[in-house]
Amino acid sequence: MGLRPMTGFSWDWSFAWSILPALLKGLAVTVQATLAGFLIAFVGGLALCLLRLARLPLLSPLAWFVIEFLRGTPFLVQLYFTFYVLPNYGIIFSPFITGTLALGIYGAARAAEFYRSALEAIPPGQWEAALTLKLPLSGVWFRIILPQMWPVALPMLGNLMIAMFKDTAVLSTITVLEMVAVAKDIGVQTFRYLEPLTMAGILFWCVSYLTARVIRTVEEKHAS
C-alpha cells in the first residue's frame, strides 16, 4: 500500500474554499460529457431499439447482440478498448471526445432497452386498433405509438442521464480532467485527500439530486 500521508485529519475550510473553483471547472467538464453522451444515447438508443425490433435479417440479431454485449460488459473496459483501439485505425480524438463517445455508446445500449420496454408496455390492442383505423404507417407511429411511448420512456431516460453523470467519473482514467480527476490531482499534489474527494462527492450528490427533483416535477406535471 506504500506510504500514506498522515495529514488532513481535520477539515480545512480555507483549503476547501481555495480548491472549489478548480473542482467546479472539473464539474463543468463532467456536465458537458454527460450532456453530449446523453444526446448520443438518446438518439442512438432509439435507433438500436428499432433496429432490434424490426426483425430484419442479420441487422436485427446484430443490434440485439450489440445491445446485450454492451450491457453485459464494464464501461471501464469499454472505455479502455475505445481509447486504445481507435488510434490503431488512425482515428485520433481528444480523450474528452473519445470518453464522451464511449459513454454515449454504452448509454445507447441501455437506452435501447428502456425504449423497448416502453414500446412493449403498449397493449397489443393499440396496434390492432391502429390497424383498423387504416392510418398510414407514419401516422400509426407518430400519432398513436410514440405519444404513448414517451411518458413511459422519459422517466427511465432521465434516470439514465443521472447514471451516466455518475459514470463520467470513470473518464478520469483516460486523462479527461473531469471533477474526479481534478480532485485526485489536488490530492496527489497537496497530500490532502479529505477535502477534494469529499467535495467532489457532495457536488455529484447535489447535481444528481437536483436533476432527479426536476425530472420528478416534470413527470408529475405530465401525469396530471
Binding site: 397489443p124 404507417l137 400509426v140 459514470d167 479529505l194 462527492g201
Partner: protein, 239 residues
C-alpha cells in the same frame, strides 16, 4: 492473439479475483438491502430517516468517488482497510442501496389482505414474515436480483482503480507490457460478457429453486435466455 496466449493463465487469475469480489460484494449488498428496506418501512421516524440518508448518500454520488474516498480518506481517520475490503464495502453498500428499493417494492407488493390475515390468525410476527410474506415477495425479487448481479460484475471492474489485480487491472498490465491493447481489451470484454451470461444462467436456476421453495410454478422469467415474443408487430416496420 498469439502474443496474448501466454498470458491467459494470468488473466484467468484475474477472473477469479473478479468473481470473488463480485460474490463478496453481492453477499454484502443483499443483507444491506434488506436492512435498509426495513429501516425505510419502520414505524420509527428516526429509522426511516437514517435509512433514507444512507440510501441517498450512496445512490447520489459516484461509486468511483466513494471508492477513492474509502481508499484515500478513510485511512486519515485511522480506518485502514485493505483495498479489497474497501472495494467490497463500497460496492456492497452502493448496490445494497439500489437493491433496497427492489426489496421494499416487493414487500409492498404483497397485498394488505395477506398481512391482515396473518394478524387475524394471531400468527407470531416472525413466522408471518418468514413463512407468509417472504415466500411471496422473494420470487418477485429474483429477476431484479439477476440484473443486480450482472451489474455488480461490471461494477467490480472499478476496483482495478484502487490497485486490486482483478481482470481489468491485469488487462492493463498485459496491454502495457505487450503494446497490443486492442486484442487484450477485446478479449477481456468477451470474458466479461461470458461471465455475465453465466451469472444470468445461474440466476435462472436460482429462480426455479426459489419458486419451488415458495410454492410457485417453477418457470423462470428472469435472465438473458428467456426470449419473449415482442408485442410490436412486424407490419409496424412496413412488412
Amino acid at each position: 492473439m498469439g502474443a496474448v496466449a501466454p498470458y491467459v493463465p494470468f488473466l484467468l487469475g484475474g477472473v477469479q479475483v473478479t468473481l470473488q469480489i463480485t460474490f463478496a460484494a453481492i453477499a454484502l449488498a443483499v443483507p444491506v438491502a434488506f436492512i435498509l428496506a426495513f429501516a425505510r418501512m419502520s414505524p420509527f421516524r428516526a429509522m426511516r430517516w437514517a435509512g433514507g440518508f444512507v440510501i441517498e448518500t450512496f445512490r447520489g454520488s459516484s461509486a468511483v468517488v466513494q471508492l477513492f474516498w474509502a481508499f484515500y480518506v478513510l485511512p486519515l481517520f485511522g480506518i485502514n482497510l485493505s483495498p479489497v475490503a474497501a472495494g467490497i464495502l463500497v460496492l456492497g453498500l452502493n448496490e445494497g442501496s439500489y437493491f433496497s428499493e427492489v426489496v421494499r417494492a416487493s414487500l409492498r407488493s404483497i397485498s394488505a389482505g395477506q398481512r391482515e390475515a396473518t394478524v387475524a390468525l394471531h400468527l407470531p410476527r416472525f413466522f408471518a414474515f418468514r413463512s407468509v410474506i417472504l415466500p411471496q415477495a422473494l420470487p418477485v425479487m429474483i429477476p431484479p436480483f439477476g440484473n443486480a448481479l450482472v451489474l455488480m460484475l461490471k461494477f467490480s471492474a472499478l476496483v482495478s482503480l484502487v490497485t486490486i489485480q482483478d481482470l481489468s487491472f491485469r488487462a492493463g498490465l498485459i496491454a502495457t507490457s505487450l503494446g497490443t491493447s486492442g486484442t487484450v481489451y477485446g478479449l477481456v470484454l468477451c470474458i466479461y460478457f461470458a461471465l455475465a451470461l453465466m451469472l444470468a444462467g445461474a440466476v435462472m436456476v436460482l429462480e426455479r429453486r426459489v419458486n419451488r421453495w415458495a410454492g410457485r410454478d417453477d418457470t423462470a422469467r428472469s435472465g438473458f435466455f428467456t426470449r419473449r415474443q415482442s408485442s410490436v408487430p412486424p407490419w409496424a416496420f412496413g412488412r
